[in-house]
Symmetry: C3
Subunit: 417 residues, 3 copies
């Protein structure tokens, strides 16, 4: 009975986390140029098809197999053999839930390399990325992992998923190089092709995040379920609000792209602590995250690293912040609650370790591709668009209805839209 209830809880949550792949795909598709829309969706399709199978063959074992000295799992390949996990749900159900996390971690990277990375090279990255994610995930979420033993607290993965993915995205965006012309002039000439589509993706991601954080109890009977859901909600609200407020103050407009990234930043930042902090702390964490994502976007642009969708400011910066925030705001052990510096130190050590690992493995992989000249498409392919050249199709084929203004000069009409 208990197992059945936990099973439907985790399957409910897992399907929501799975659906986040649709969210990533549509968010990123809306944020890039029209000519590269399909190429980014196809990269997410690679994450979810190839990535899920790689996680089944080996990732799950590396992450949740019996630990070899705290660094790597050594059993459970091909879903055969012992898996170390809470006994609350059957192994296939746990695999489904955890698979969706692995795929999400990799999908963070897809946006950062959009509009110029080769599809075939990205497939290689998916394999390496899923395996690397599984290794550093082992450190924290396998009870035998070295960070778990130090007492690191990362409830649903600000470090395991988002710090890893965000720093992998940073390395990949850096080594694959900026889009042609991205840092030539004073202003960014690249505009999102379809922001309504990006909002479709955002609402799907937000919806899915209730599964991401809520399901991480792996236990429908946990008294944490309610607080986790509430904290997830209010941190997202805080992140969206503060990002909107900051852009209003800075630029005089209520910026939709930053509203999106503020909400996502709040969600990323509360992911580690949603089970450990109070609702007011969750609001505070969200508000800070919304500011950090705006600062982080300017910061990475200052380095001339081209991250078309803001993967690093959202997931990298706020993955680190959210993990560290547990050391500050946790009601048990947090600095602000008299817990001293121990937990804070472990959290910093943990998230820095994962950031370095994610960055390093990705830098080696994409750096090798770069050295071999296979990291990015040709200049001609980039100019014409990856959709036509690599995928043989365009995203949109559409008649244009220009009502009531056939006599209005084109320039005026464009301005009026």
């Amino acid at each position: 009975m208990t197992t059945a209830i936990n099973t439907i809880w985790v399957i409910f949550a897992g399907t929501l986390v799975f659906f986040m792949e649709g969210g990533f795909a549509l968010l990123e598709a809306g944020l890039v140029q029209a000519k590269n829309t399909l190429s980014i969706v196809m990269k997410v399709m690679a994450d979810v098809t190839l990535g899920s199978l790689v996680y089944g063959v080996a990732g799950f074992a590396l992450m949740y197999g019996i630990s070899h000295n705290g660094w790597i799992g050594a059993t459970g390949f091909l879903l055969q053999g012992p898996i170390v996990h809470v006994a609350s749900v059957p192994v296939p159900v746990l695999w489904f839930f955890e698979m969706a996390f692995a795929v999400a971690a990799i999908s963070i990277v897809s946006g950062a390399v959009s509009e110029r990375m080769r599809f075939s090279s990205y497939l290689v990255f998916v394999v390496v990325g899923v395996l690397a994610y599984s290794v550093s995930g082992h450190w924290v979420w396998n009870p035998g992992g070295w960070l778990a033993k130090l007492g690191m607290e990362d409830f649903a993965g600000s470090a395991v998923v988002h710090t890893f993915g965000g720093f992998a995205a940073l390395a990949a965006a850096w080594l694959v190089g900026p889009r042609q012309g991205r840092f030539d002039g004073v202003e960014n000439p690249f505009r999102p092709s379809n922001l309504p589509l990006a909002f479709v993706g955002t609402f799907i991601l937000w919806f899915g995040w209730f599964g991401f954080n809520g399901g991480s109890t792996l236990d429908a009977f946990s008294p944490l379920v309610g607080p986790v859901i509430v904290n997830t909600m209010v941190a997202a609200a805080g992140g969206g609000l503060s990002a909107i407020a900051v852009t209003r103050l800075q630029q005089g407009v209520y910026d939709p792209t930053m509203a999106i990234n503020g909400v996502l930043a709040g969600l990323v930042a509360i992911t580690a602590g949603c089970a450990y902090v109070s609702a007011p702390s969750a609001v505070a964490i969200g508000l800070i995250a919304g500011v950090l994502v705006v600062l982080g976007t300017a910061w990475i642009e200052g380095w001339k690293v081209d991250d078309p969708v803001g993967a690093f400011p959202v997931h990298g910066v706020n993955g680190v912040f959210g993990t560290v925030a547990v050391g500050l705001f946790a009601e048990k052990g947090g600095l602000f609650y008299g817990g001293g510096l121990h937990l804070l130190g472990v959290q910093v050590l943990g998230t820095v370790s994962i950031a370095l690992f994610g960055f390093g493995i990705t830098a080696l992989t994409v750096g090798a591709m770069r050295a071999l000249g296979v990291a990015r498409v040709t200049a001609e392919e980039e100019e014409e668009g990856l959709d036509v050249r690599l995928h043989g199709q365009r995203a949109y084929h559409r008649g244009v209805v220009v009502h009531r203004s056939l006599d209005v000069p084109l320039a005026e009409r464009s301005a009026g839209q």
Copy 2:
């Protein structure tokens, strides 16, 4: 055990209701002009970020705190202190579910004021609107509320959510004034920019409504769960069918916008009675709702009130109808089942009270903004579009692929992306 099962039921339902915000945003974004697409999505983002926090700080307390003479809740601010509610789920879980309702009620208004209301003024409305919603909701859903004591039956909120939101939308649309040129000519020159996007929103809303109505049992063990879900389905089907049939008879076409609004009208109308009526009655309620929404659209247009998305015909007209329909169709106490006029009278009193309250508070708020000259954007901003002027971005930046006109050189076309 019971609490755990109820908790996952209500969280499942609550996440669906939350997702309806995405539905509102995309539905409304598709129905307005392209130049105001982001502005409407940003208004929904304001509902869900600012609105949820306001509901946490004070709304939930006003609604479900211990009643002060049946008119207002007086305890439970900041989620601290006693909350009057069924004991079936923990307080944080109840908050999450109810928060999503409050935000939905406010989002009804966002569509009615689209394309011309100032964003900063809308933020003020969100605060006032959430608090006002909570007060009139108290009357019906707090066991100590004056309408609850009279025996009013509003299972999931045809009155509490939809009559309130629909009449607030009417007041706001009226006082903010019509879009420039809306009633100048004989024909409506404003066309939906992206109906497929509106359908994305519609399917999300319909999907979410199963949580809205189903979760309102707050009890997974209730024998009402099955009938509620069935009634929700068949009323929506009836509403869509009759709206399609009416437009076919009136205009000779099967109208997609009315198909959308017919489905939503059926959903709004069954929301009060889904737990109290038979499935054939639910079909009848849906069929009537689909007709009412077409009539209501013509009606509000006759008054020269500009409601770009049909918020009042859908939510106001059918919120009232659905609440009154309980007095007619309810198997216990309904007029058609020999229950006499008592329940019918209470339902009429209740929905009229809520309509007047929603209309009045909103009229005062938006009327004051109008008197101060801050209700709407300038004529220039309206002409150019709120997206560029208030939000600094355009919704769509897209190359146009004009196939079958291959005389345009490819290079030129690609350059246009």
Copy 3:
């Protein structure tokens, strides 16, 4: 208690299956031309509104009423009277779940006849189609059905839903005839209008399929729940991967439309066997399905049958394959597991019977419409687009922001509709 848990499980699953209607609508809308976008969404609206009511009045009874000699149900019309079913959930809950299946089966056809079938004639097809689906569904899923008695195994409907729908789609596409100009030249001039929208639909379908297959246990306590979910996931992954690989080898590109259809093919093919095969078999079934959908697309094109969305290759070909695959891969009774030819024979008999029945009834219906001259719109309506002529609206009214190509004349761009 058990009933309550099963109820929330089946309602969770049923809402996901319901949401698949949104998936069908958006997938198909994205794959057709812009001028026929609304017409296809409206056909799906007809499926879900009219189709659900027909299933309530009679379909459910024909399918799950007490069997008349194994061929047809004879009780339970209007949800009154005995229904033969597992006792795990209340009848209204079962109806909701099964209704969503009936509507899905019919929606398969909507895509195949898109861009040219009359809306009014399609309404007639919906009525006939739902009733016919219910009859052949009776044979397999009613314990008294003749195929059920022979031991046919179709867990979630590769035969009942997808073979039926896919062969009905083939008959309808064949008899309604190809779109004007479809087979005139050497190359297909019809391009998908909005592939990102098609991906929105695809992710919704994939998400919903976890309810489709998972909920078909009708029992949250079944040990099959976990394996069913895992098999659904990995077969979809396999289908997407192999379709991408095949198009890369054949055409030199990673084809997005085939990635979509490969994932859907994998999902269709695992639907019969998800509860009976191992995870590695599920991957194999998915990989084969992804190849079959590419071959099937070429095959149907060779016959000059115009199926704009690939309904037959996805649902017909892989519905048959998935049903037959149970006879090969089932751990109990499958040929590859030493089970001999008995189960394989029954599966072949069953899926062929349903294919012939779905094809035959639809051919009679659409053939009669064709004979009466009402199957398709006029050549003028087809040329101008069904949206404007039958539905009175265009899908998109949008200002176009064409930066960097202001030298393309306006008239030429408009002509590209």
